[in-house]
Amino acid sequence: MNAESLEQIAQRRQAARDGMKCRVSVCSGLGCESVGGESVLEKIRARMRLQGLADQSEVHLTGCRGLCQRGPIVEVEWGAAAQKQRHLYLDVDEATADRIALSHAATGKAPDDLPSHADNPFFTKQTKIVLANAGEIDPEDIESCIAAGAYSGLEKAITEMKPADVIAEITKSGLRGRGGAGYPTGLKWSTVAKAAGPKKYVVCNGDEGDPGAFMDRSVLEGDPHEVLEGMALAAYAVGAEQGYVYVRAEYPLAIKRLRAAIKQAEKLNLLGTHIFDSAFNFRVDVRTGAGAFVCGEETALIASVEGARGTPRPRPPYPAVSGLWGKPTLINNVETLANVAAIVRKGGDWFASIGTEKSKGTKVFALAGKIKNTGLIEIPMGMTLREIIYDIGGGIPDGKKFKAAQTGGPSGGCIPAQYLDLPVDYESLQQVGTIMGSGGLIVMDEASCMVDVAKFFIEFCREESCGKCIPCRAGTVQIHGILDRIARGLGGIEDLEKLEDLADLLRNTSLCGLGQTAPNPVVSTIRYFRDEYLAHVVDHKCPAGVCTMEGAAAVAPLAAVNG
């Protein structure tokens, strides 16, 4: 550590912040960014300068606040140190931003006609661990992160705990993999820790390929140090000295912020050699993906980090035993690692007190589709789907009816209306035929056709199949072909059985998770929306009016003759 300790930096920054008349944070999530977040920030900064408050105010960008639909989102904190007040503004355009800044600078109050939205159920119903620092920190300024507690977990681990203690704490917390499968994190860590060999690796899987999910993007952009600290803790626990963050190329800002964060952390000796004056060394490099969904699968990801084509290989051996360059490798998802620092700081018991019996902690979801409040949310495990969709999400827009929620993306399934009161945890979701997945939650209303949705996902898997094993390569083409025929009105009742047979084949014989789970959306929609499929193949009609059914006219008279 440098001359100034972590605690000193934190205290200095906190004192500086306490002394400020006013602190303004502007959401820098992609949603706010696309509607002018940056210019709102500039406007506020300019106004503060004009009012002579440049030295007494702090105006900074912050991580995604979640309510993308209502951006840009601005929060103002003002008042004396002990009694800071906060005001959350939504839908801030440049003119409003100027008005807000002027009002706070001149009168020390919010404009009368702009109420705070902090008590909006969208915000109050959430429980935040992973996203807790949105609004508190500037992700590009490591000192502001340290003031919020960053790297204090790592300091505690290195100075007070043995590697085995860290693993015990993670095991006690009950944390499970947030990438989708839900494998116990503590167990994975102890397997890698036990693996023989002096050289080990820690890899952070940020290849968020599931279309309709952006949790990892938001975490990497909004709080990169949280992930880096999690990686360092994992490395300390399992005995690794080198780490890689694998991020998809579609997320340029996440890559930029990560690279900057690594540099800043190295400068303060929070990464690098002799961290906190100990014998622990840890280096992190960023690896950029290049647009291949299959690289989210761990063995394919390893191949990709090694600079090869991202094709999976059979397991075992698992990466925990033989991963990167044949060495024991710990692979965790971004969100999993983002939970680690808080667990070490506050203890496994604290984490285990949140959530359900088997699913502990919180889960971040990307709420999208036909829902009023689209955006990013973090909820305690076990919250019902109804609460998520109606209380936090604000319900379905345009007075339409809820039809289904899709979780797990192309590997998941849908949850129909009868299960709205289902608690969201790993086991319950599995019981109804879907998975937790990485956190994409797409809401569909009555205008969505389930055959079309199934076709969309299988088309995705067909395109993304790496081609190494035949069941996946050929099977996804066949399933897509059948669904396409059904959507054009040329399907028959026997097609449903064929689909189910093919699904069974893919599930049991594909090499990796991509092929094994590719039929899930098809199976799940047939299970819950068989009527809709029957309408397509028997009556040759699409009830939602989405499928073209252009071939139906030719089939109908033929069926009449045959019938």
Binding site: G29, L30, G31, E33, S34, V35, C68, Q69, E208, G209, D210, P211, G212, A213, F214, R217, A249, E250, Y251, P252, R287, T288, G289, A290, G291, A292, F293, S304, V305, E306, G307, A308, R309, G310, A366, L367, A368, G369, K370, T374, G375, L376, Q406, G409, G440, I442, M444, S448, V453, F456, F457, F460, E464, C466
Partner: protein
């Protein structure tokens, strides 16, 4: 092909791109496993990956051409053909699809006479690209104009914006 020849065939006089590519490879210490990172640098410099560039990278990193070509064609992000001056990237992630990204894509392609087989206009002005998911689900449907992400646009608005480029 030597590096000098490559400099002559892929660029005009005074082009520093080859030097920059070599510098990028040096930063990676010419490690064969840095192939992906190097391909990223090359595409950033040239806009696409020509056969000459791929050959040069293979020789420098001591990776067989078959593997360089295999990797370059495996990943969607890499393009072996020149792209248009501007790119209109339509996100076809689930959230965008549910909110009508298909109609946007159809409208833009129709307007420019493009298809899923033909991504760039004949004059090389505009490419229409499909993205798997740009992670902007909260503002779906999302369209990326060059590097700027814009959400919630109607098909007509996207067509109008792309028209601005072709003028």
């Amino acid at each position: 092909m030597t590096a000098d020849q490559l400099g002559a065939t892929t660029s005009k006089a005074g082009d520093k791109r080859l030097k920059m590519l070599d510098a990028a490879m040096r930063r990676q210490q010419f490690q064969p496993d840095a192939l992906l990172e190097v391909l990223h640098s090359a595409q950033e410099l040239y806009g696409f990956l020509s056969t000459d560039v791929l050959t040069h990278i293979g020789r420098s990193l001591k990776v067989p051409p078959s593997r360089v070509y295999g990797v370059a064609t495996f990943y969607n992000h890499f393009s072996l053909k020149p792209k248009g001056e501007h790119a209109c990237t339509v996100c076809m992630g689930t959230a965008c699809y549910v909110k009508g990204a298909g109609e946007i894509l159809g409208a833009v392609r129709r307007d420019l006479g493009l298809s899923d087989k033909k991504a760039t206009t004949d004059d090389g002005k505009v490419s229409v690209v499909v993205a798997r998911c740009v992670g902007a689900c909260g503002i779906a449907p999302a369209v990326v104009f060059d590097a700027e992400v814009v959400g919630g646009l109607a098909p007509e608005a996207v067509v109008a914006r792309v028209k601005g480029w072709t003028r």
